[in-house]
Each structure stands twice: as structure tokens, then as C-alpha cells.
Amino acid sequence: MDNYHALVASRHNGRKTEVAIRYEYLRGKPSGHSPRELLAATKSALEIVPDPIPREHYHYFSGQTWDFIVRFRGKPLPGTEIHLKTSNGSRLKAVSDDEGRVSLRLPDDFQDAREGIRDRRSAEFELLVSHEENGHEYQTILNADYRVNPKLWRSHGLGIVVTGAGLLIGGLIGRLGVRNNERPRRHG
């Protein structure tokens, strides 16, 4: 169905509950449901919820900052350590604020990515959070893929220059048009 879906895998092992969550965008008939509903729904006791998730037809890109909320039994969990690990070998650590929110900058860690060259590689990142409640340990992982940031082959400087050229030519055409309008015409 055309929309985001949450894939949840869980394992209960005595005093420990482990959960892995992944949001996948699938194409097909529109589901008619907002991704907000999916994110709001409680999918496990301990959760890392993207806020927001990259919207339809968009992706996580290296070097971008994204927010996540840590929830326990549907309520924000402040002061919790979150560990980020990428398949390219980067490691990061952050702590959730009073609202359970954490902002993370995805590492720019694609080897040999070069400016001006499109790079279609993607890699995986994983967020891990742990919490203990009444002697029971909860551990949840959110994983997703991220791609090389297209900023590498998209030049804003050149964009401004080309727009400037358009402004200049547009100004000249407008000026010429005014002059032509001023000339007496025999027809029309």
C-alpha cells in the first residue's frame, strides 16, 4: 500500500525485552491513513519515534539533522542515552531532553564521496536506546537507511549565478519590449 508501514520485531527473554523497528515506504494503492497515525500508535513499550519521518518520496541524507522522540509506554522519556551507529562505522551518543526529544546529525561518513559527482550509495543507521523499569530491561533499536547528501552535486552558488543571468536577460527583454511598444506601429 502507498504509505509508510512499521515493521516491528520483538523478543522477550526473561527479564529483557528487545525490539527492532523499521519504517518502510511502500508503493501501491494509497492507504488513506496519515503517517502521523502510524507514528502516534504505540508499537512497543520502549520506542524511538521519528519526528517527523522523511516524508513520502524523501529520504534521510548524510549531514542532515533529524529529530527523534524516545517514548516509554506512550509517554516521553527524558534523560535517556541514545546511541547512533552507522554501517559506515560512525558512532554518536546523545541524551533526550525533557520532552524525550533528541536531535541527531546523521554523519557525513561515505568514503570517497566527491563534490560534483552523483553518488547513489546508501548505508544503514541504527539508533539504540535502553531503559530499565521494575527490574525489567527494555532495549529498542530503530534502523533506517540514509543516502549521500545531494548537496555534493548540487551547487547553490551556480544556481544563484544562473538565476542572476535570467534576471539580467529578463530585464533586457522587458526593456526592449517597452521600447518596441513606444515605436509607432502601422498594424495592430
Partner: protein, 351 residues
Amino acid sequence: MNSFLNLSVVRKLVQLLAFVFLVYGIGINSYYLADKLTAALPALSCAYDFEGADYCTLIPFQHQMDHRLGTALAAGGNFLMGLIPTLITLGTFLLLFVVINKAFCGWICPLGTFQELLHMVGQKLGLQQQHSLTQGTVRRLRPIKWLILVVLVFAFPLMTGLGWLNHDLGDPFCRICPSRILTTLATGNTTQLYVDTASTTTLVLSMLGDFLFGLVVALALTVRQPFCRICPLLALQATFRKLGLLRLVKNATPRCERCGLCVKACPMDIVEVQTEMTKRDVTFEDCTLCGRCVEFCPDKEVLQLKYAGLTLFSADPRYFKRRNQMQKQWEKSTLKPLPKPADSGKRKKAP
């Protein structure tokens, strides 16, 4: 009539409200495309704007040509299944379009509003205005919107889906659309102003998009509605204009042949509004139903805006007189005095 209130003022207010709603209206739904109002709006409100309330119908059309119809045909699959998403988008577009017809251009479109505001800025700065394009220029420009609609909105994305063109041509119109750059910049997002060196196709399209945006901004200061004249959405609307409930209606009189004030008032320079003497429905393909021709028609009930047969607004000599005075006052108040044209004594000034 209040000294400041006229149809153009009402329209400007509606345009500004629509601009704010469509460009910054994320509060009424959400960031996600699935939450947008219609996803098939008959106006250039861009999906690349992350804060907008709705987006233009040309985006799903290109997407469906590429990822649905083209892909289904390439795989030898069910043609009807590939076509159904396009039919749903077209149906949604038509449901909206029937309500106010081409007034989506003249009253709702954010890019149209932006161009009108720029034209007002140009006028107030005292830049010399090109009141009307020559009929030759108008005739040469008219086919371009059809070409863009057929080639960039439907053919290239379809051929991409069929595997005949590279994937960078899956949404070629969006890549050159000035509304993409305008609406994103309006929200403080500069990511859409770029030159993309990923491939020759992206390089050409991104440069064309940036150049066109600059061109439209500069031209709009002195020329009325420069991009509207080649907008593929205007062409798509023209295809279905007979279905719309709002119409421009004319009751021609012999005086029409000598007058021509309606054409001078028309931001799209549609000469047929004056020359058409037999047809009642004069909602021509370039008409944006802005109503300026009705405002500046000096003869009673010759031009009318009608909704499902009911008269909404009608030409009236008394209204015309007051409106004309207001226009003259408006044009007089500039930051820099307008230079006098060399032959100003010989030519009628456009309203």
C-alpha cells in the same frame, strides 16, 4: 461602491489569503503528502514546499506517467490498472475545477499572485511598463503551454516509465517550474535553487529552471503575467473549460469593435474578448477569469461573470467610470515619476 473597494481589490485579498494558505498552510494538515487537502490542485502550488497546505495536479500526473502507466506498459501489464491512478487524479482535478473553472489561475495560483505583486512593485518603482504584448508575440507564445503540457508533463515521464529515457526525465516540468523555487524560497528553504551536475539532463533542467525563475521575476516587473502565458496548467484547464460553472459571458454590441478597453485591461492580452461578436461564452483558452475586462467594459452588461447562469458581476458604466478614476490615481502614485513615452500623445493608455 466604496472608494477603495472594487473587484480587483477583492481579488487581491483572495489571492493573498490563498497564497498564505497554500504556501504556509501546513498548520491545517501536516508535513506529509498523504495529509494534503486534494493532491490535485488546479494551481501551481508546489509539493517541494514542505510547509504548504496542498499541491499542484501536475506532480501526480508526471509521477503516474512514470511510475504507474509507463511501468505497467513496459512490463506488459494491465493498461487499465496503470491508467487508474491518472484517472483518479484527473477526476479530483475536475471536481475542483468545475467549481470555479479557470479562476484557479486568476484568483488562487501562488505563482500568478507573485507575478502580479511583482508587477505592482515594478509600477510603484516607476519602471516603464509594457502594458500589452503585441498580438504577434501573443500568437507565438500561445502554443508553448500546450507543448510543455504534452511533452514535459505527459510524454517525457511516460517514456521514462517505459524505459526509453533516463530517470532524470521522470518529472521534467517540476524541475523547470518557477513555482518550485518561489514557494520554497518563500518558506526560507534555499535547497531548490541549485545547479545539479549529476548528469547532463539534470544540468540542463536545473539551469533552465533557475534561468526561467530569474527571467520570470525580471519580466514580471514590467510585463503582466509572463509565466502564465506558457503555463501548462493553463493549457490543461483550457481543455476542460466548458465544464466549469464560472464563465465570462459577452453580449456583443457594435460599439465593441471600436472600443477595445477590455483587451487593454486583460493581463493575458486576449484580443478575442473584443473581436468575438457571436459567441456568448468568451472564456477563451488563455482567460484566467480575473474579471478585469468586465471591470473596464464601459457598456452595461456587455461583459459578465456568470456562475451556473447566474450573474455575479456585470459591466456597468457607473462602475467603469469610478474604476477608471481609481486606476488613474493608482498609476499616478509611484516612487519615481514614470517617463513619458515618445508618442504618448498618440496612444491610448491601457487601464
